[in-house]
Symmetry: C2
Subunit: 208 residues, 2 copies
Amino acid sequence: MGSTGGRRVGRPRAAQRPETGLSPRDELLAAAAELFTTRGYAATTTRAVAERAGMRQASMYHYVSGKEELLAELLESTVTPSLALARDLLAQDAAPAEGRLWELCRTDVELLCGGPHNLGGLYLLPEVRADRFAGFHAVRAELKDAYRQLIAATRTGGGLAKSELDLRTDLVFGLIEGVILVHRSDSERPVAVFAEATADAALRIVGA
Amino acid sequence: MGSTGGRRVGRPRAAQRPETGLSPRDELLAAAAELFTTRGYAATTTRAVAERAGMRQASMYHYVSGKEELLAELLESTVTPSLALARDLLAQDAAPAEGRLWELCRTDVELLCGGPHNLGGLYLLPEVRADRFAGFHAVRAELKDAYRQLIAATRTGGGLAKSELDLRTDLVFGLIEGVILVHRSDSERPVAVFAEATADAALRIVGA
């Protein structure tokens, strides 16, 4: 992409790339996160994403295969950090499960509510049901299973029948994902306060 | 719209109207509910809604002004029955608030999860932030305020500072709306069981 002696080679760029220090791929992900959550996924064209990231549509295809790949990666990015923590916490099986479950809830809420865009809102897109998003569904199921294992390891959780354990897992997981909706309407409260209160509420649901 | 002696007058209809016994307007709402939740709001054309309801696009405009009106009415329909119940329950101020809050939670979950389509998923559409949907936001805020009043009337709720009352209200409201997400992934469990378990969980969050 060199220019010779200040003269532009080839056609000028669609727009100036913002100087964010991000890689072109991360620039595209940031642009997609903004546009998908503010304009909507179906209403956003690949061209709009490329322009927002300061590149031509044709250049974009050097980095990603299209809109679906960007959505899949954004969705997975809301789960994988929590999943890594969940695996660590599951391995610390000498520590009380109550504290580990609390920590997972707190961190998960901070992650879901703390970013600049409400990516959790993308979970409900009808498009996300497609096989193309199997990777996201797999990591989300794995995270939910980690919640289930931690709940089962609590003092009250150990005595629950499977159907009751599944029910409490759904309620805790529903609470965590549901707080996305309410947090958006009231963003004056610090995320950390809300995350700790949600973790407390999750332990009360479990009965711990 | 009469036909004379079995001969069709004018052009044939786009499709046969299904014999559901619904009014044309309700037929359009049912078609919109299905298409918005399965294909997505932005991806659904008014023409597709009209065809699904068995009428021409031009006829549709006799009954509704367009896609936005259908979405606004569908959104409000997820709130207004719960709001009517909430007003009744608030008026019964001789009865313990715990039981009234439990009943509101149970009914609200049955309503959100019990319909044929996951209309709660439409809450997160970016389009819904527009002024056009102020009516929906107003009834939803009124419902949330009813939750707040019932929580404040419980024995533990009465002693809470305003910020703590707001926090518990957000957690209970978040739980109720969040169960939409998890219920969709596991629809084998009867809605009634899930609704009662959610109401129990809400009371535990409040500390009642």
